[in-house]
Amino acid sequence: MIYSPFPMRVVSKREEAPGVRTLKLEFVRQEDHEFFKASYKTGMFGLYGIFGEGESTFCVASPETRKEYIECTFRQSGRVTTTLANTDAGDIVTFRGPYGNRFPIEEFEGKNLLFIAGGIALPPTRSVIWSCLDQREKYGNVTIVYGARTVADLVYKHELEEWKQRDDVNLVLTVDPGGETPDWQDHVGFVPSILEKVAPSPENTIAVLCGPPIMIKFTLNALGKLGFSESNVYTTLENRMKCGVGKCGRCNVGSVYICKEGPVFTAAEVSAMPQCDL
């Protein structure tokens, strides 16, 4: 029923970065899991909650190729995320979803992929990355450009290591100037400028871009300069949500309801929205 969440059991919790955690959740009820398996596609989001505290919206960070569990990664900041952060394995939380649209990854087949993410926005990107890497043969070259403020703020460090080792993935890491540690071997600089140095040719390439609004803005500029067409660049938008299903009336940007028509948009679609409403 519409506002009733699924109970989920916390399987494990991982510290990603200061204040950032990943929860691995499993379905308590078989029928809920079946529903999820039948409906989840990469890019969709959910409302994660704790009864007594409320619900909070973030993406499903796990790919559509791995539907045994749901992973979610969040920064502890408000009331709900603080409580979620304090859960332990075995605790029960809730999930409502999956909602929203998805990345059309079958349309990406045969193309080169350029993933660009900043900070805490790696999780939505990571969902697409694994969905594609798990079917690696279907896609061309894969480049991942990921940046964070500091080395400590990089999330999914164990997976970054894995991607670095793979020879079918080109991983480019960067941290903002001043965020590097003495032993940092990778780039120092903001994502847009690093991107301009390392980006593959826009020819037959799809870019997936997730990050804070300011990074998105400058990275879109950079992609434009590199010759990427706006219709080949995908991104996700986030807004405050309560219902997740198009009723509560707060997540719209102009006429577009992020919860129903998003969260995945092409850069062309985002450009068509009233920018001051973002």
């Binding site: 009864f51 405050r240 009723k247 009336g249 940007v253 409403d277």
Partner: protein, 337 residues
Amino acid sequence: MTRILLKNKLDECIAAWRSAGFSVLAPVKRNDLSRFEEVERSADMALDLQITERTIKDHFFPQTEPLLRYTIKKHDLDSQEMLPPDIRRVFFGVRPCDASGLAIDDPLFGWDYKDQYWFKRRDNAVIVTIACTTSDDFCMCTSVKLAPDSTKGSDVMLRPLQNGTGWQVEALSDRGTALLDSVSSILQESSETPAPPASVPVKFDVDKAMEWLADPANFESHFWKEISLRCIGCGSCTFLCPTCHCFDIQDEGDTYTGIRRKNWDSCSFTMFTMHTSGHNPRNTQSTRWRQRIMHKFNYYRGKFGVNSCSGCGRCTRQCPVDMGITETLQAISNLQG
């Protein structure tokens, strides 16, 4: 010859509906507030009010409503939906603008995900509307292309008779037909003519206004700042609006058990769109007022083919600083020349 209901037969009608299992709700003025409440007799009704201060929306989408009850146990939890009770209700003496409001909101609550809390109440309600033969300074149904005798959202239409003794009755839906059939012995055939509907002046050219609103160049117009300067950011206009439907979801309870509730929320409030990070897409009152107007006269139409305003005029009638849709749309249609 048409069927009529005489005022002096209204009590028989109410009794018949009540004994058939209906609750009858009608305009009531009590504790210095007019709203729809359950009544047992016609003497309790305030049918001569131009319009109730509160809308019948309250009875379909209450200001606070339980969604589910939850119980938290160690490594387990339980939740049960709390759907509204199965009560069949007759809303008697609804104004056409309020009845239209329900019909306007139906597609929203049914948009892909069906909100059973709304529809369970809708499905169990019969809307008996009385056409308006008078209006006040704030009525604006004709400005939004409705009318003092619009049938939208109504199951039965009552048109006041010229001689003031009762109403001409007309069923507009199966539910309305069934309701009238249940009191067919109380209704009479008559050749009395109904009074003409109120003549409500058109206050703005809604087409012109919509054209202006649809132009992306006007989204950041200085107009929005000017028109909303005096807005104090309360939720009065949204909460008294028959079509405003925004809500919040909140949990209330102790450590082990509680109720998740759906509470009215308003696009006028600063916190409505505020992210946890502190970023607020609509961080000024002008952007919030623009959202309200755009939602009603542009976005909603784009999604559901209808404007989200039924012209009741409550937003202006009750505004602490005398703002409202009428002034804004007037100003916009004047901008259009």
